[in-house]
């Protein structure tokens, strides 16, 4: 599920939150690939489904 872009001149608060979130993840245990995938999902594709986010977070994790 994706959303359209927001009105010109209005602050994109979600993008601000997502950007800071991705920055904060860089200091976490998450791999660079996962961070990049999350960034793409949240800020480029604006896809917020559980499936898409889980795929990004656990990109390098072996399946149990």
């Amino acid at each position: 599920m994706t959303r359209s872009s927001r009105p010109e001149g209005t602050p994109d608060i979600p993008a601000q939150v997502f950007e800071e979130f991705v920055q904060a993840l860089r200091g976490s245990d998450l791999s660079a690939e996962s961070v990049a995938l999350l960034r793409k999902a949240l800020l480029e594709d604006r896809t917020f489904t559980e499936h898409a986010l889980e795929k990004a977070i656990l990109a390098e994790e072996p399946e149990p």
Binding site: M1, T2, R3, S4, R6, P7, E8, G9, T10, P11, I13, P14, Q16, V17, F18, E20, F21, A24, L25, S28, D29, L30, L38, L42, R46, F48, T49, E50, H51, L53, E54, I57, L58, E61, P62, E63, P64
Partner: protein, 818 residues
């Protein structure tokens, strides 16, 4: 983003045909209840967004835009209902016409329709919050923290933030949930291994020592270490294909004992008690009709959300605005949150039962191999069937729904078929009767079983470790997201909070000049507390009056909109939003809107003429930027009370020889206008506390006041030696005296032909000159250029000038001082 220049409404809601000229300026719509004001609000919202919030959302039941949007006489012909607005887009310096019909609300005819224009209109459409009614306003103030958070997030278009938070939380929860069965599997594998080793604790050195003791019997070199890939059987000859597989007697007896213990645990009092407790809880859940369907719906809605990719419902393909659809479904999911919490509590209680059943299932599977290897084989189908039954029981309990099914399955849990116990008894006998193996055979069997179970444990632990790592990462990501989003939102809310407090202080500076407020976001909730006269911070509804709460709602809305749209906050509709606010504070609201939001065009509806007057005196709306609806009928819609409409309607009535209607309208209009004139000219009138002034009290006062003002103006011009102006004012005064005399207002107490109570008894020929006389009289109060009624300045203290809105008429009233 836009300013609305004009709107034309046809057969829409309660309006048959209405055109309003906003001229891109703030505009007031005043009139008693039920005169069609909200119809204009609906039309504005409809033409700009394709929706009417009053006809959708919570509490609207069977009402729909398509069916109930058209005038009731055209309810089956939505094409007749249409709204056209002319808007300017300041950023593009363009004027655009938007036309929308109820036949196809989602699509507007836009002229010109270049991409830049369409993009701006798309942005406007994405902001239905430009229309604020009291119903919406109060949601920001007295809602629960989680509901308020949703409302404010929707307003700020930050619902995506919550959407991601919810998704990350679900991922973390799901990953943690999967640890339970993996943990159970690892525990079972460890128990099996310990049983093979005949130990009660897992210690590497002891395992190694036990394995090396067996290897020594077979003359195999000892293992130096027990690494991840170490094989306990390393160097041991693989049995030939023809060699029949043997039952490891000692191990088999130990496993059979373990199976008996597992089955005994299922039949134990402890399990029975737990079953009873959980059954009671599930019966309570099952008695709530919302639960069963609620969980199904939640799954359905969540799936629907994931499948929604285009602007249509994934189920019925009905076209939707994507954001609207998402909000709609999200609201439904959130509504079921309570149900979800109850189910989670039940699942937590069921989890130990599931672990017990899984243990029994695993134990039976282990000993079933021995039954097959026995000679002759032991009949073990009853135990195998029970093991399979344990599997389906676990599945049912884990899924939880349907509840009736789960309750039934649960009730059967402690019931153990005797055939299972008998089968295990037979197997035990058969194994016990086996000859004792040689020392070497026993060592070989021991090492084979131990290696097999070690591998199972290694696999289970690997899976568990991987799952723990996933769960840890998912939780870490969620925690980081929560901390980050809370920090960002706290910053945003701090800015909004500051602005809100300043705005509220402006409106209530007479008694709450030190007002302050706190907006506190946390985990999808938004707390809101306000200062109460320095006594502490409390929820807005705790001590503040309803009027103050309304005022807070508007101030919070304005602060949020200013933060959200910044300079793009150019248009808003305030639909009767300050019902509970007193006149004094409404006046301050006018001043607030005028001074703090100078670039925003407000369309404001009210049933209170005093507030309309405040809007004018504070300069929020100019003279022509208001309309007064005097009445409404289903056949004609709202009737306006302005010059153009009234005189046209009077003429129409007279053409139809309906003197009664013309007289009633003229009287009504004069009542309204004479009050307005007295206000504008500051005419002295005997005060009435009930505000019920008679026409006979107001109009003569206005005429007298105008005459005196013109006389003062003549004197003032003379004092300044302005001969030309003296002449102009004198001419105006003479003309006014003539029209005043023609109306014979001063005689209507004695002259039946001019007394308004008798007008309806006149014939058409007698009433026509009466109407003309009053039309001319009112013309004497206006500016010849803009047609506006004149007013004096300033509003208090000594009068200084008599002016109109356009500034063409500006008559000095101050005499030259010596």
């Amino acid at each position: 983003m836009i300013r609305v220049e004009s709107i034309t409404i046809t057969e829409f809601r309660g309006i048959r045909g209405l055109a309003l000229d906003f001229k891109g300026r703030s505009f007031a719509i005043c009139g008693p209840n039920g005169t069609g004001k909200s119809g204009v609000v609906d039309a504005l919202e409809f033409v700009l967004t394709g929706k009417v919030s009053r006809l959708s959302g919570e509490g609207t039941g069977d009402i729909s835009l398509r069916q109930h949007g058209p005038h009731v006489d055209w309810r089956n012909n939505p094409e007749k209902a249409r709204v056209t607005a002319k808007v300017t887009i300041p950023s593009l310096s363009k004027t655009v016409t938007i036309e929308r019909s109820l036949k196809n609300p989602a699509t507007a005819q836009v002229t010109p329709s270049d991409p830049a224009v369409l993009e701006v209109l798309r942005q406007v459409k994405a902001h239905p919050e430009i229309v604020l009614s009291r119903r919406e306003l109060i949601r920001y103030v007295i809602a629960t923290p989680s509901k308020r958070s949703e409302e404010v997030q929707a307003l700020l278009h930050i619902d995506e933030v919550e959407q991601v938070r919810a998704s990350l939380q679900k991922i973390a929860n799901a990953r943690e949930k999967q640890l339970v069965p993996l943990g159970t599997a690892a525990t079972q594998a460890r128990d099996n291994l310990l049983r093979a080793f005949g130990m009660s604790e897992l210690a590497t050195n002891r395992l190694l020592a036990a394995a090396n003791a067996q290897r020594a019997i077979l003359s195999l070199p000892p293992l130096a270490d027990l690494a991840e890939t170490t094989s306990l059987k390393n160097g041991m000859a693989t049995p030939g294909a023809a060699q029949p597989q043997r039952i490891p007697k000692a191990q088999a007896l130990a496993d059979i004992r373990a199976a008996r213990e597992a089955l005994a645990e299922i039949m134990s009092d402890c399990t029975r008690t737990r079953v009873v407790e959980v059954t009671v809880d599930l019966n309570a859940l099952a008695s709530d009709p919302v639960v069963e369907t609620g969980v199904k719906r939640q799954v359905f809605y969540t799936t629907g959300m994931e499948l929604t990719e285009a602007g249509a419902c994934p189920f019925c393909d009905t076209p939707w605005d994507l954001d609207g659809l998402i909000r709609h479904v999200r609201a439904k999911i959130d509504h079921l949150r309570e149900v979800s919490l109850k189910c989670t509590a039940a699942e937590t209680k069921i989890a130990p039962l599931i672990a017990t059943i899984r243990k029994a299932q695993s134990a039976i599977r282990t000993v079933a191999n021995y039954a097959a290897l026995a000679t002759p084989p032991v009949a073990f189908s009853a135990a195998c069937d029970y093991s399979a039954h344990c599997g389906t029981t676990v599945e049912s309990l884990a899924v939880l729904l349907p509840l009736a099914e789960t309750i039934k399955v649960l009730t059967d849990v402690p019931i153990m078929p005797q055939a299972v116990l008998d089968a295990i008894g037979e197997l035990e006998k058969a194994v016990a009767a086996l000859p004792e193996p040689t020392k070497q055979d026993a060592a070989r069997e021991w090492l084979a079983v131990a290696q097999e179970r070690l591998e199972v444990l290694r696999d289970a632990m690997r899976k568990q470790k991987a799952a723990e790592e996933q769960a840890r990462k998912a939780r870490q990501v969620f925690d980081i997201y929560t901390a980050t989003s809370d920090a960002v939102l706290t910053g945003i809310y701090a800015a909004v909070e500051k602005d809100f407090a300043a705005i509220y202080q402006f409106v209530n500076r007479d008694d709450e000049g030190g007002f302050d407020a706190n907006l506190m976001p946390s985990m999808g909730r938004l707390g809101f507390s306000v200062d109460f006269y320095g006594r502490g911070f409390f929820p807005p509804g705790a001590y503040h009056s309803e009027g103050h709460q309304d005022s807070m709602g508007l101030c919070l809305y304005l602060a949020l909109m200013r933060h959200l749209q910044g300079s793009g906050f150019t248009f808003a509709v305030l639909d009767d939003v300050l019902m509970s606010v007193d006149a004094g504070h409404r006046r301050e609201v006018c001043a607030l809107l005028k001074t703090q939001f100078p670039n925003t065009q407000f369309v404001i509806t009210t049933c209170d003429p005093v507030w309309l007057r405040h809007m004018r005196t504070e300069g929020l709306v100019e003279g022509r930027s208001a309309v007064y609806f005097r009445s409404w009928s289903v056949d004609h819609g709202p009737s306006r009370l302005d010059d153009r409409d009234v005189w046209t309607e009077v003429d129409d009535n007279l053409r139809e020889n309906d003197v009664r209607a013309a007289a009633a309208l003229l009287r009504h209009y004069l009542e309204y206008t004479s009050a307005e004139l007295c206000h504008r000219l500051r005419a002295p009138v005997e005060f009435r506390g009930d505000d019920r002034y008679q026409l006979g009290e107001l109009l003569p006062a206005a005429i007298s006041r105008m005459g005196k003002l013109l006389s003062s103006a003549k004197d003032a011009a003379s004092s300044w030696n302005q001969g030309e102006i003296v002449g102009q004012v004198a001419a105006r005064a003479s003309a006014f005296a003539l029209v005043a005399k023609a109306s014979s207002v001063d005689q209507w107490q004695v002259n039946a032909a001019v007394h308004y109570n008798s007008w309806c008894n006149l014939c058409k020929e007698d009433f026509v000159p009466v109407a003309k006389a009053f039309r001319d009289l009112l013309g004497g109060f206006t500016c010849s250029d803009c047609g506006e009624y004149l007013h004096v300045l300033p509003e208090r203290e000594s009068v200084e000038s008599l002016r109109c809105e356009c500034g063409k008429t500006s008559i000095n009233l101050r005499r030259k001082t010596a």
